[in-house]
Amino acid sequence: MKLSTKNLVILAVFGTLWGISEITLGTALKTLNIPLSGVLLSAIGLMIALIGRIFIPKKGSTLFIGIIATLLKLFSLGGVVIGPMIGIISEAIVAEVVLSLTGKPRQGTMILAGSLGVLWVLVQPFVTNPLLFGRAVFVVWEKLILNGSQLLGLGNKAVFLILGIMICIHLAIGVIAGIVSWNLGHTLQKRVGMSSEE
């Protein structure tokens, strides 16, 4: 990936915007303990990264933005937060892999990148909790179902229904993030008078 000075600065700007959303909004949402706050944060972050990809349509640019945001998350209130950091970098990797499938960003790949990136929020505890804290997968699964049943107002027995609805919610929010970033990215390009090839 060969980047010009301008490209590097633009990637830094988008990385900073993602970092700011994680530092300020992330801390506030986590403190208020709002349900699905991780999904909301991930959707906002991915939207910023996807808009960044529209501006710099080169392989690796989304990952670059993600790395900057991850490193900036270290400035977050409350010290080191390993979970969100792993979350940011994983979402960036997922989005990067999907976007790298096609050369130039397309609306379809943007939507796919957004939805899979947001879906990662649901999958992440199954990876990080057993690996980092030795928490059993079963416990993570149980917590997911309990949270889902509380959120949806369904009984604990309807495991597959809860899981299905949770996956659909995550995917839908990701799809919205993809569509919004596609539209917003092109509006922004017109507004600042900057094309993707620049």
Binding site: T5, L8, A12, V13, G19, G79, F133, E142, L188
Partner: protein, 241 residues
């Protein structure tokens, strides 16, 4: 990552063995690999070894790990398995608990302590730019420059975001047509940020900056780095094999 000068000088004065950036990174990865591969049989001495090494290298790390917020988080993660994981087969002071869950909880606590201490030690000793320097050497050319720009942009972009939000609030906020409001806020914030990026790029280019010609961000080196690296590799091999 070093956030302020007082913390930096405090950490430097507290440190017994001066390690370079690679040394700190190796110690972090060593702890991570060891705790991930530990079983219940060897968990106690592996965690003990990690905590001992971390305490020698980063004497102040435990202070920031043992705080109310983290202890509450640890309690939320570690206590439920004692009662809910596996069959409730033992009683302590009249409280029934699961022995399997108890073992699992101890494992969680030890892993949590080691991971948090290692992370705290590394982040308090290594600068963000040095991390970017390491990543640059792995192919992400220009990351050091971008990180420098990002760190300098952080306060001004934060201020610009807050101002855009306040202006939007003064003009009615998100009460009516909230979607349009959010869209306008995002457009304004990102446009301002991109305009600023153009200025920075122009300033860098006028100073003859070129990503192709710049050397990767220098990383701190120490003669102890190789000793740490070799010892870490050897100990991992011995423990895993």
């Amino acid at each position: 990552m070093r956030l302020d000068k007082s913390r930096e000088s405090q950490n430097k004065s507290e440190r017994i063995i001066p390690l370079g950036t690679l040394g700190h990174l190796v110690i972090f990865l060593w702890c991570l690999v060891l705790v991930l591969y530990s079983t219940f049989e060897n968990m106690f001495w592996i965690s003990g070894l990690c905590i001992l090494v971390l305490t020698i290298l980063y004497p102040g790390a435990w202070k920031s790990v043992i705080n109310a917020r983290r202890l509450i988080l640890l309690g939320l993660i570690a206590i439920p398995p004692i009662f809910f994981l596996g069959a409730v087969d033992k009683i302590f002071l009249g409280v029934p608990y699961s022995s399997l869950g108890f073992i699992s909880s101890i494992q969680i606590i030890l892993r949590f302590l080691v991971v948090m201490m290692a992370l705290e030690g590394m982040t308090s000793s290594v600068e963000i730019s040095a991390m970017a320097g390491i990543l640059e050497r792995f192919g992400l050319k220009g990351l050091g420059f971008s990180m420098g720009v990002a760190v300098n942009l952080l306060p001004s972009l934060q201020k610009s975001c807050t101002q855009s939000w306040l202006i939007l609030k003064m003009r009615g906020g998100l009460r009516k047509s909230w979607w349009k409001g959010i869209k306008l806020f995002s457009l304004t914030t990102i446009t301002c940020a991109i305009k600023r990026a153009e200025e920075i790029a122009l300033a860098a280019e006028s100073r003859a900056f070129s990503p192709d010609k710049t050397r990767p961000w220098p990383i701190e080196r120490s003669p102890f780095d190789w000793v740490v690296f070799s010892s870490a590799c050897l100990s991992i091999l011995l423990i895993i094999l």
